[in-house]
Symmetry: C2
Subunit: 142 residues, 2 copies
Amino acid sequence: MRWTEAKRGILTAEGKPDINVATPPDFGGHEGVWSPEDLFVAAVNGCIMTTFLYYRAKEDIELVSYSSTAEGNLHYGEEGLVFTLVRVKPEVVVASDSDRKKAEQAIQRAESACLVSKSLHTEVIVEPQIQVAREQGRASEA
Amino acid sequence: MRWTEAKRGILTAEGKPDINVATPPDFGGHEGVWSPEDLFVAAVNGCIMTTFLYYRAKEDIELVSYSSTAEGNLHYGEEGLVFTLVRVKPEVVVASDSDRKKAEQAIQRAESACLVSKSLHTEVIVEPQIQVAREQGRASEA
């Protein structure tokens, strides 16, 4: 990566799109730019998804959609400011009841196998919502 | 974030540019896309920079350039695959000898204060190279 100006820089990796990064606004930085703190939370969120997708392929789960929000909690303790918790909330839609059971297991396995989570002091909590496509249809008609 | 297809998804955050993410090629994923593992290393790399920039502003260091590479080491242990080490190599160019001394301290302080590093199990090693602009000129003439 390289610094550009003020509290901004550009993350580069060969053959991959550049990512602008900056100190977050709360710490005297810039709006509208990913911060290292955002990337930390995003790495966890992404790792839960890609690890889930590994088990999805292995267990042949018919996946309709997967979206997920993630939020980090910061706490000022003895060591200064650290992330104490990342909460990940995947919303998973699958094709059938049998897929639903397999998806529940796959999310649990992703929670314990995600290599980014395992590399953290921070606690990671995964709170999935798993629905079957036709139920989702009924729910939105309700 | 949301899954798009295969082992890919899109990270979104309100008011910030989308980032495509995918399982890395080594784990059966895709080339040319940031992986959660990349973002983990990038979060550390970025945090060392933004924390340095905090001390830079505080100590009024005249900074000419800052660029930094970072590399993560994975190890397969009892818990499965985890990051055991992230090595960050900042190359810092400052205007004068007095800036150099301040920059050395600022990097050390960034190493211990970076909130992303402090949130990891993974060891983070920072190996800075700090030069004064005119020396850098001499070095490139040599």
